[in-house]
Symmetry: C2
Subunit: 235 residues, 2 copies
């Protein structure tokens, strides 16, 4: 029996109790292991997702095979937001970057519920705005920041969603997320490590000094996070 007070997901936590009651019978618990695919590009979306633990990467792929992360979410948001915008599919890939768990709701049921409750729909749409801001920020930093700044941003976004000081991730995956060479990631990690901002072990990154990491990320980090606080609530 689910209790709203024990829910980690911020959207589920911040909707009104009556909206939560609407959703509750349809929240199917699901284990979300690393690499689990939530949304396949250009295929019908069967479920929407509310992550409790773990983090999802939303990835855009170019026809030539190169790909890059255009956004992430975890307990801050929901998966497959495009269904709210009237599209049952999306050109982007969504898969678990860091394993965890959450809930899924069949798309059709979810759409019916947001049609019933305006307040529920409004909360979800505000999150869409926040996610858009995050994607725009990715466009900005991909075009104008050096790798270690972008890496610092990614590590911070990761910590925000996992609220852990440490999480499993390989240089190889980071290179795909940031759209750079694997060894460029290694170099950037060494820079942050040299400043004692993080510590990297095999397949693992630990945050040592969050405040200084924020400074290292500079203007790359913060805008979507502020929009989240403004429109959804505290993290």
């Amino acid at each position: 029996m689910l209790d709203q007070a024990t829910i980690r997901n911020r959207l589920l936590a911040y909707i009104s109790p009556s909206d939560f009651e609407l959703l509750r019978p349809h929240l199917q618990p699901i284990t979300l292991d690393r690499d689990y695919v939530l949304v396949k590009p250009n295929e019908p979306i069967e479920h929407v997702y509310f992550v409790e633990y773990g983090m999802v990467s939303v990835v855009a792929e170019k026809a030539d095979g190169r790909s890059i992360e255009v956004g992430v979410y975890g307990r801050d948001g929901m998966g497959a937001t495009t269904v709210l915008l009237g599209s049952d599919q999306s050109p982007h890939h969504q898969y678990m970057q860091i394993g965890g768990s959450g809930f899924q709701v069949p798309t059709a049921v979810f759409l019916e519920l947001v049609e019933q409750s305006r307040t529920l729909r409004n909360m979800m749409l505000r999150y869409v705005h926040v996610f858009m801001t995050q994607t725009a920020q990715s466009a900005l930093v991909n075009g104008s920041s050096v790798i270690e700044e972008r890496l610092a941003r990614w590590v911070l976004m990761c910590q925000d969603r996992l609220d852990a000081m440490e999480f499993p991730i390989t240089h190889d995956f980071l290179s795909m997320m940031l759209g750079v060479r694997r060894s460029s990631v290694t170099d950037a990690i060494h820079i942050l490590e040299g400043d004692l901002l993080i510590r990297a072990r095999r397949g693992n990154i630990e945050i040592l000094d969050r405040d200084r990491l924020v400074r290292a990320a500079g203007a790359s980090y913060g805008v979507p996070e502020a929009e989240f606080r403004r429109l959804i609530g505290p993290m």
Copy 2:
């Protein structure tokens, strides 16, 4: 007296006649000169816009002053879509990149109308999805394409929205849009000119061979455009 059949804007053209009738009394014609600001960052949005002629740049700015374009629209879309998502402001700048004209609708009126008509709202939300796809594509190409590819993409997007073979734009503005040095733009233009894909005159670019320009843009161009055709209609 406005006639839906003579409207250039694709959204206004593709909504149902009854939805158009809802909007019609509130469509205030407006001249949109070059540099006219449609949306100021982090300030309340008073009007939404439907462009008939010209093109708007949506620009994200970093605290350190660097900025980059995260999307464009013209007669294909609408301005200030964030109001549809429940946010009365946005962190991004929107201003006329190429002057023209269009309609404005007071935000409050527009929100009331989309609340009244589900079909109207659905069309606008589908456009939000398309625009998001465009922003994601910008994130992708900013991180993984060489300048002349990105330039080719920009020129194509511009032509799609103006349906003109020629339009006024300076290297300086392009450098801000692409987030690169002004002289890097000059170099990229020379490459495309050398292949006889475009011709550049002072403050002006002319398209000579659109098909080959699409090939020059490679995988940078096409994904959001396909989403537009799938969800809205032909351009």
